[in-house]
Structures are given as structure tokens and as C-alpha cells.
Amino acid sequence: MNRQRSSSPLVLAIVIGIAALIVLINLAAPNWLWQGSLTRVLRPVESAATTIGRVFESVLRPFTGGSTSQEDVLKLQQQLTALSAENVRLREFQAQAQQLRLLNNFARANPALDFVGADIIGLGSRECDNQSTIGPNIGICASVIAGDPSPYARFVTINAGRNSGLVTGMPVIGGGGVLIGRIGRNVGPATAQVQLINDPASFINVQLVGSRATGTIAGQSDGTLRLQNVLQTEVVQAGDLIVTSGLGGGLPPGLAVGQVDQLVSKDLETLKEATVRPGADLRRLEVVLVLKFVPPS
């Protein structure tokens, strides 16, 4: 091996100084650098690399255990997810109708009382109310162009940003109409980062469609999802469909998230916990829809 050169303290000091300056600037003014032109410059490179990545993936699929039949399975899985989401929506309508019927019965039984109808906070954009299908006026379609180089965070970058009206916290829908994440803090002019629901810092208020039990879904460090904070008295079964509850106003209610996979808590514990199977394959996202639902600040 060739003998290495000796280090120059001046060069090292300059390099360390620049790195320290970058860190300090970001601590003083977060996102200042992100919002610059760096992302705009790199966007074509990212898009090109994504295309190359997809080609690589399709070429390597047969060697990594995949085949043409696996593609069929993938297509069928996507169809299944879409049907499941539709099923969730219908069951959600049924459950809501049942709740409204109960409320109506209660109102009839108590004619002396005055009632004011109200929605759970965060019902969603009124623009969506009269839409049977997702239209361009309620959502922004975007392509996933990059992942996160850090193995400790689960974010993807999409090719829509502040210029398209995106703001932090907007829900992002993917793969057959299920919630896959929310717009993160880094929103640039032309790109934005989406915090996936399996990021360890992601918490979503949810509801089980059948039992109406509420809880939270938290992302785990290993990339899985866990349903938490469900009261022990509630019934939780494998296969139960999970939707957003709308509690807290951060997300509109009724967005499909996934299904209960396996109960992991014991009967003697105060709260129930279960693993959750997400409704979309979070590793293979290509096109997503950002809902123009602005969460309260």
C-alpha cells in the first residue's frame, strides 16, 4: 500500500469549522438551508436516480426471490388493498349511520333537551364533503423520488412542495387509498419530505372500525406498526380494520390505516397492544396523494 500523506492541521480545522458552522446555523434557524435552492438543483438527479432504481429493482427481483408470478401477486395485493379500503369506507359509513341512529333515538327519547349537532374535531376539508371520488381540488398527486439515507428515520421525499400548497402535517395517501404518512417539517419549494406511519416518531390517533375502540398507532424502530393505548375492556381481534379517529384534529377521521395483525399484550396489563399490518407496502411507494387538509397549528 502507498504510504499516506500526513494531515494538515489547517485543512482539518477549516473542515471542522465549516461542519460546526452548518450545525450551528441549523440549530439557530432550522430548515433555513433546506429551503434553499439545493433541493431544486438536485430534484432532476433524484428523479433520474429513482427511475434507475426502479429499473435496478425490476432487474434484481428474479435474483432476490421474485419472479413474474410475484408481480401478479403484487398486482393482486394492490387490488386487495383497494377493495379493503373500499370495504373500510363502507363499514365506516355503516358504523356512523348506526351512531347517528342511536343519537337520533336518544334525542327522540329526550324531547325536553336541546341538542346541537357537532363533528369530531378535524372532520376534514369541507371541499371533500361532496366528492365521491378523490378529485384534483382536494389532493395533490406527487411521485416518491427518494428515501432517507439515515437508517433511523423513515421518510420519503416527494416531488411536490410549498409551491403546490403543501404544509407540514398534511395527510398523505398511497396504495389503494390508505394513509401512509404526513408531510414532515422539511417542506421545500419543489419537494417535501413525508414522515411515514412506521417512522419511530410517528403517532396517529386511530379507531377500530368494528368495536369503535380508540387507540394510537406508533411506528417502531424495526419498521413495524403497533396499536397501543387501547383499553383492556375493548375487544381487539386479528383482522380488525383500523381507521384514523380524527381525535386531536391532526388528521381527518375515517382514513384507512391497516389491519390488526396479532395481539401482543397480556390480560393483566392495563392497556392492550397489537401489531398492525399496514394497508400499503411502505417500501414500494411510487405515487402518492397529499390531502389538502390543513391541521390546526
Binding site: 473542515v15 452548518i22 450545525v23 432517507d148 439515515s150
Partner: protein, 169 residues
């Protein structure tokens, strides 16, 4: 000048590969830190220039990452500094200078990232980070550095010759 253009192109290519292609191919498996490998290999061969590569590569990774801006830059510089300090101690295998350098840099590189996540109040599982990411990469990164060494070593020889010639002139 040509070698700086080469460095810029190589680092951009590897950063894009690390951020765009590897997450799709590896999924939740440990992904090699390509920019760390190339910057550390160049540091082991050319010292100061490797640190400049680490700075440039770190900035590029920060553009793609959701972690606070500067995380990867600081992590790469700290990783390289730790490897530089450790490489001053007598090591039994001088031959494996590059692999040692990359291995020594991998641990602080990840620890600094986790430190930044802690400052940002983002949760992580330390045990899983160690067993599922750091330890596998402690093997994978040095192995891949042999490939980086094979790529960069001829360039290093040529640069050394050019510098010797320039000094003589």
C-alpha cells in the same frame, strides 16, 4: 482540478445511490454507508482530501435526509477524526489500513446520528440500532471498502507520482 470534478461526481452519484436506490433495494436490512466508505478510504489514502470529501458527501446526504441539517456532515467528520486518532496507535495489521479506518469511522458515524436524533427528541431503539444496524455495518462497510480501495488506489498512485514530479521540477 480534474480530481475535484471526479470527487464531486463520485460523491453526488454515491449520495443519490445511498438515498434513492439503496432504500428500495435493501428495505429494512442494514444498508451500506457508501459515502462514508469512499470518504474514509480517501482519508486513509490522502488524509486532508478525504476530510474535504467527507464534508461534501455529508452535505449531500443532509439534503436528502429528514434528520437535522448537518447531521451527516458532522457524523462523517467525527467518524473520520476518530479513525484518524485511532490510526495513530500502532495497529497489528498496517495492510488493512483502509478497512480499519472505515470500521473505526462507522461507530462514531452512527453514534453522532443517534445523538442528533436525541437532541431532536426523536425516539429510537438503541439496542436495535446497535444489533440491527451498527454491528452488521461494522462488517459490511470495511468489506466494501476493499472495492473502494481497488478503485481509488490507482488514482492515489498517479497523484503521488504527479506530486513527486512537480516537486522535482
Amino acid at each position: 482540478m480534474r480530481r475535484h470534478i471526479f470527487a464531486a461526481i463520485t460523491l453526488t452519484f454515491l449520495a443519490v445511490l445511498e438515498a434513492v436506490v439503496l432504500p428500495r433495494l435493501f428495505g429494512s436490512l442494514p444498508r451500506p454507508n457508501l459515502v462514508l466508505i469512499i470518504a474514509c478510504t480517501w482519508s486513509a489514502l490522502r488524509m486532508d482530501e478525504g476530510f474535504v470529501w467527507a464534508l461534501g458527501g455529508g452535505l449531500l446526504l443532509d439534503v436528502f435526509s429528514s434528520t437535522p441539517f448537518g447531521t451527516h456532515t458532522a457524523a462523517l467528520i467525527v467518524g473520520n477524526l476518530a479513525a484518524l486518532i485511532l490510526s495513530r496507535f500502532p495497529l497489528p495489521a498496517e495492510f488493512f489500513r483502509v478497512t480499519n479506518w472505515v470500521a473505526f469511522a462507522t461507530i462514531p458515524y452512527h453514534l453522532v446520528q443517534l445523538g442528533f436524533l436525541r437532541i431532536d427528541q426523536r425516539p429510537f431503539d438503541g439496542t436495535l440500532a446497535l444489533s440491527g444496524t451498527i454491528l452488521p455495518l461494522l462488517v459490511l462497510n470495511p468489506l466494501l471498502s476493499l472495492g473502494a480501495y481497488a478503485l481509488l488506489s490507482p488514482l492515489q498512485i498517479r497523484l503521488n507520482e504527479e506530486e513527486r514530479f512537480a516537486r522535482r521540477v
